[in-house]
Each structure stands twice: as structure tokens, then as C-alpha cells.
């Protein structure tokens, strides 16, 4: 059995294409996402049409300019500015009408493009509060509301922090499903399983040794992906050691799913097609790249039962939220249920004839 296990490990370690999918491919994902500066605050280009020169408007413009996300540009022609807004050259146009600060009727107005609404939502609310305050000041001469920044104690989670545990789950899933499904079908096609059948070794022992070798690679995979994630700037305060039992549990689910796929496929192409058809949608639905909270509520409820969702949940609980593995108990129970179901299904379906 030891010889068999070592042989399987050698096969996996010498299979460069397989290792590419296990290690390099997830790292590429992390690298590509690191290129996008997803955590930088959006930049908002504001054209200010100042028709009311004076200390009041100057003060407002100064205030605006001091906000980091606003790029303020003074323009003269409101109509031209609104056309530019339509073309997307500006995100917003702020009109300071004549008599601002003297005439109660003269109110500062914000123009924005609805096409830009989503990206500008944050900026719009910030600018609106500026303008509202100003209008109020202008009307009553005394500020009734003052905004104060309230620093909170909650740690700011950046996208990379969210992504890296997701990529780890994705890597574990795709390598296990694809690796086992294609190798078993290849062994069947090359009649290697039949060849083992004529020896005293039970074929189940061969499959178990192969699963064991995949688990070793999985530990390697966990280290490489988390290490790369940290190098790419992910801040994961949790204890990485907890990631190992969690990914191993996930592996039991996905390796057995791979065996089920192998049992249902006649050719390698069919096996890899089926593996992709299962793992690609799950990758998006289970929240590798985006939180599942962003899905429609009923879909969100459904995807909680996919095997990848609790795996990602448990990984983020221990790595991102720095909580004890016991707090991921619900997720682990769900993974465990999937593991039992998949082992039973795999041992029932995987026959040699």
C-alpha cells in the first residue's frame, strides 16, 4: 500500500499539466485580480459652474477640493458642461447660481448622469450632503447640521482579503474534480484498471491510494495559494493551519464527485466536460469572486446547499474573520454531509464493467 501511495504521488507530481491547474492557475487568478485596483476609492470628476463669485462659493469649492475622491474643475458654460456630462467626460456638474448665499431661492444644484448612477452613488450622496448643508446654511445662515467623520472599529476588508480564501476553495474544487475524473477515465481507457483487476490488489485500494495522493497535493496547494495571496497583499489574520482540515474535508467531497463523474463518462473529453459543467457555475454561485449576499434572496438560499459554499464560508470564517474553527461548525456539518453522500454514491457507482 505504501508503494502504491508513493507511486500515485509520483504520478501527480510529474504531471506538469495537472500541477499547472492545481497551483499555477489559481495563482494566476490572484495575480490578475491584484492588477485591478478594486479597493481604491472611485474618482469623481466634478465640473463646477460658478455663477456667484464670492467668498461663499469660494469656500464651498475649497471644501469640495479638499475631499480626496473629488476632482474639481471650474467651467463657465453650464450647457457645455451638461453636454460633457452626457458624453461621460464629467461624472457630475455642480451649479452655483447667482445670488448664492444671499437669495434664499438661489440653490446649489447637482446634475448627474443616470447612466453613471451605480458608480457615482457613493459620490452623489457625499456631494448631496455637501450641497444640502450648504443650501441650509444659505437659508438659515447658521449651520444646523455638521458632519463629523466617525472612525469605526470594524476592520476594513479589502477585495483581495475576500478573494484569496475564495481562490483556495476554487483551486481545491477544480483540481480534485478534474484530476480524479480525468485520470480514472484515462486508466479505464488504457485498461490499467483492468490490468490491476488481474492482480490480487483490490481496485478499491488503488482508488483509495490515489485519493490519498490527491490529499497530499491539496495540502501543498493550500500552502502555495495562501502564500501567494499574502504576497499579493491579502490580509488574512486567521491561523492558516485551520485551512488544512477544512480543505481536506472539501477534497473528500470533490474527489468523490470526480469518481462519480468518471463512472458516468466513457471518454476523457466527456469527463472533463462534465467536471467543468459542474465546477464553473458553482465557482460563481458559491461566492468565489462575489459574496452570495449579492444574489437574489431565493437564489442565495439555494446556493447555500452547494458543497463549495460552506467550504468557502468555513475558510473565510477562520482566515478572514479570525474566528475559531468551531464557529464554522454549521458549514463543516454541511461539508461533512456532502462528503458522506459523495463517498456512498462513488462507491456505489464506481464499477469496473
Amino acid at each position: 500500500m505504501a508503494v502504491l501511495f508513493v507511486a500515485n504521488l509520483k504520478i501527480l507530481l510529474r504531471d506538469r499539466l495537472g500541477l499547472f491547474w492545481a497551483l499555477v492557475f489559481p495563482i494566476m487568478f490572484i495575480g490578475v485580480f491584484a492588477l485591478f485596483n478594486l479597493d481604491a476609492p472611485p474618482e469623481v470628476n466634478i465640473a463646477v459652474v460658478n455663477e456667484s463669485p464670492g467668498s461663499v462659493s469660494e469656500a464651498l469649492i475649497d471644501n469640495l477640493t479638499s475631499v480626496k475622491m473629488f476632482k474639481v474643475k471650474a467651467v463657465d458654460d453650464l450647457q457645455a458642461a451638461r453636454l460633457d456630462l452626457k458624453d461621460g467626460n464629467y461624472d457630475m456638474v455642480l451649479l452655483l447660481p447667482a445670488g448664492l448665499g444671499q437669495n434664499v431661492e438661489a440653490k446649489a444644484t447637482v446634475f448627474y448622469s443616470e447612466a453613471n448612477l451605480v458608480t457615482n452613488q457613493v459620490a452623489l450622496s457625499a456631494l448631496s450632503s455637501f450641497v444640502d448643508e450648504f443650501n441650509l446654511q444659505a437659508a438659515s445662515a447658521t449651520p444646523t447640521i455638521t458632519l463629523q467623520e466617525e472612525p469605526t472599529s470594524t476592520r476594513h476588508i479589502r477585495y483581495m482579503d475576500f478573494l484569496v480564501p475564495g481562490i483556495l476553495g476554487m483551486g481545491v474544487m477544480s483540481y480534485s474534480i478534474m484530476g480524479v475524473a480525468t485520470s480514472l477515465v484515462t486508466y479505464h481507457e488504457k485498461r490499467i484498471l483492468r490490468r490491476i483487476q488481474v492482480t490480487p490488489l483490490p481496485v478499491a485500494a488503488f482508488v483509495i491510494a490515489q485519493v490519498g495522493a490527491f490529499l497530499v497535493i491539496s495540502v501543498l496547494q493550500t500552502g502555495v495559494i495562501l502564500g501567494t495571496g499574502v504576497l499579493a497583499g491579502a490580509h488574512l489574520p486567521g491561523n492558516f493551519v485551520w485551512a488544512i482540515p477544512i480543505t481536506l474535508m472539501g477534497n473528500i467531497v470533490f474527489l468523490n464527485l470526480g469518481i462519480v463523474i468518471a463512472a458516468a463518462s466513457k471518454t476523457v473529453a466527456a469527463a472533463s466536460g462534465m467536471a467543468n459543467a459542474i465546477s464553473l457555475p458553482m465557482m460563481f454561485l458559491s461566492g468565489v469572486f462575489f459574496p452570495t449576499e449579492q444574489l437574489p434572496p431565493f437564489v442565495e438560499k439555494l446556493v447555500q446547499f452547494l458543497p463549495l459554499t460552506p467550504l468557502l464560508g468555513a475558510l473565510r470564517t477562520v482566515l478572514l474573520d479570525n474566528e475559531s474553527i468551531l464557529n464554522a461548525g454549521g458549514d463543516l456539518a454541511l461539508i461533512g454531509a456532502w462528503a458522506v453522500a459523495m463517498v456512498l454514491l462513488a462507491s456505489r457507482l464506481f464499477k469496473l464493467e
Binding site: 507511486a7 488504457k190 488481474v198
Partner: protein, 331 residues
């Protein structure tokens, strides 16, 4: 792969089973074996026994039931009825014990990518209680320098020889070879015949299937000829051929074309004509050349045909199959 490259080249000679075999021991016993797949009866009541130390061939066209018979003996397939025994043990009820003692080379089976020859032999050896060192096995087929290569880097003949030693990692008492030379060029095939004889020489009983009649005739001590799931004849190739009504072939090239029926003079069995024009060859099965030649010459004189070329040869196993089934083995 040239024969001379093999350390076994010329080391042994083909021959009859050891006549002085002190006690006849049956290492394989097949009794009334039937194997059905739904409506198809692949094996239809086959019985035979294999002696220790012989090369036993199961021959016949593709689809005759050879592989099914072999795989049932090996324990890979379950008989519908009847029994198969190896070394006195039932190959299904005592499958684990039987598997320890036999070696099996499957038809068109391959080995692992990414493992070296030595690693594969070590791996398969680890499945058995008794095992031979990989280097010794490699040396037997002249692959001792290839121990660290992978299977894909071997030639077709080398792959086939490796596949045979890989089925001998447990030093088996009986070796089963399913179509061992299919797909090999004639030189590699001859080299493999030498290897098989050499293995037998060292005391291993060999049961093989083939659809090459020439191979069965030169290699096997006894053959079972199968057709449509049944054994139609079983004996040594020599005796099967001698048993023919017309055990000789007379091959003629004539100066002018003659109707085949006209050549069927006394003592001439089947007449077949192959080729056209200059290459047209008449093949006459005859019981005795000396008896048939005078009337044949008379007939050719009547037809005003002259013999350009004449060859006499002993009939082959191919002729036996033709005589038994009325068909040729050719796929």
C-alpha cells in the same frame, strides 16, 4: 527489434512438449464453459485442459470467443455456467489465491504515464506475496538500460516485451497472453516468439490467444481452434494438419488460364485460384503428390497448358481451419 539484440536470441528452439514429462499435471481445466451477454452467446460449451509446461494456443477469427474464454479463466469474467480451474483452484471462488500464482497480459492494455519501467515493475510487484526484482525482469528482455525510461519512450516491440515481463512480476506458474503479437511487425513478432519459448523453457506454462494461424502453428504445442464460441478442433498443429484429407498444397503457375474445375483430378481436394494474368496462382490441396501428379499432368496436356512453376508444401493450420469451417481466418 532484431532477434540478435535480444539476449534470448537463438537461446532456445521450438519444439514439442517435453515428452518425458513424468506426471501429467493439468494446470488449467475448463469444463462446459458457457458465457452469454444477453442474447449473444460468446462461449458456447467449451472444455479443454492445459498441461504444465506447454504453450497452449486458443486460435480462431476475431469474435470467436477466445478473449472471453481467457478472461473467464483469469477470473475477470464470471461464467454463465460451467467452471474454470487454475492449478486445481476455482478461478472465481478462489480468485485471490489464483491471482497470486498467474500472470496476465491483457489485449491492448497500457501502463502508467509518468512512471519509469522500474517503478512500474516495483509497483505491480508490491501487489503480490512473491515478487521478482525489477532489474532481473528487465534484463530478461534486454531492457536493463531502460529502467529509468517511461513506457512512451519505448518502441512497439519493446513495449510488448515490457508488457510481458510486467505480467511476470510474481514469477507466475501460468502466464496468459491475449493476442501478444497483434500490431507488431514480423521481426518484432519473431523476437516475441523467442521470448515466449524462453519463458516456457524456464518452466512457466503459457496459454495464449491469437488469430494468426502461422503463429499458433510455429509457437504452440497444442491448439484449440475456436469458431462461434465452440472448439472445433484440439490437438498439436502437426497432428491437426496430418489429419487433413489433403495435407499437402500444390502451387502452380501455368502458361495459359485453365478452369479450376478442370484441375480437380483424382486425389485433388479443394482448388483455389488467386491473382490475375502472369501472377495467377492455382492452389491444389492433395492427399499425395505422387498419386495426383500424373493425372494432373495429363489433364494439363489436354488443356495445352504448361507448368511455369510448381511448389509443393505441407498444409498449414490455416488449411485446417478452412477444412473445418469452410472459411478463412482472415479478418
Amino acid at each position: 527489434m532484431a532477434v540478435s539484440e535480444s539476449p534470448l536470441g537463438g537461446a532456445c528452439h521450438s519444439g514439442m512438449p517435453n515428452e518425458e514429462l513424468p506426471l501429467e499435471e493439468w494446470v488449467v481445466e475448463v469444463e462446459s464453459l458457457v458465457r452469454r451477454y444477453g442474447d449473444l452467446t460468446a462461449v458456447d460449451g467449451v472444455s479443454f485442459r492445459v498441461r504444465r509446461g506447454e504453450i497452449f494456443g486458443i486460435v480462431g477469427p476475431n469474435g470467436a470467443g477466445k478473449t472471453t474464454t481467457l478472461e473467464t479463466i483469469e477470473g475477470l469474467q464470471t461464467p454463465t455456467s460451467g467452471s474454470t480451474r487454475v492449478l486445481g483452484m476455482d478461478s472465481h471462488r478462489q480468485a485471490a489465491e489464483v491471482k497470486e500464482l498467474i500472470g496476465v497480459q491483457l489485449q491492448a492494455s497500457a501502463y502508467f504515464d509518468f512512471l519509469t519501467l522500474r517503478e512500474i515493475l516495483g509497483l505491480f510487484g508490491s501487489f503480490y506475496r512473491r515478487r521478482l526484482p525489477p532489474q532481473e525482469l528487465l534484463a530478461r528482455v534486454g531492457l536493463q538500460d531502460k529502467g529509468n525510461s517511461q513506457v512512451i519512450h519505448l518502441s512497439g516491440g519493446q513495449q510488448q516485451r515490457f508488457s510481458i515481463i510486467a505480467s511476470m512480476v510474481n514469477d507466475p506458474q501460468v502466464l496468459f497472453l491475449d493476442e501478444p503479437t497483434t500490431g507488431l511487425d514480423p521481426q518484432a513478432r519473431r523476437s516475441l516468439w523467442e521470448l515466449i519459448r524462453e519463458i516456457r523453457q524456464q518452466g512457466t506454462t503459457i496459454v495464449l490467444t491469437t488469430h494468426y494461424m502461422e503463429e499458433a502453428q510455429t509457437l504452440c504445442d497444442r491448439v484449440a481452434i475456436m469458431d462461434y464460441g465452440r472448439i472445433v478442433a484440439l490437438d498439436s498443429p502437426e497432428r491437426l494438419i496430418e489429419g487433413l484429407e489433403a495435407p499437402f498444397n500444390l502451387r502452380l503457375h501455368l502458361s495459359t488460364a485453365v478452369d479450376a474445375d478442370r484441375l480437380a483430378v483424382a486425389g485433388v481436394g479443394r482448388v483455389s485460384v488467386n491473382g490475375e494474368g502472369q501472377d495467377r496462382e492455382y492452389r491444389l490441396q492433395v492427399a499425395s503428390v505422387t498419386d495426383s501428379l500424373p493425372p494432373l499432368l495429363d489433364r494439363l496436356a489436354e488443356c495445352k497448358a504448361q507448368i511455369l512453376d510448381m511448389e509443393v508444401e505441407k498444409a498449414t493450420l490455416e488449411d485446417v481451419f478452412l477444412a473445418l469451417t469452410g472459411r478463412q481466418v482472415r479478418d
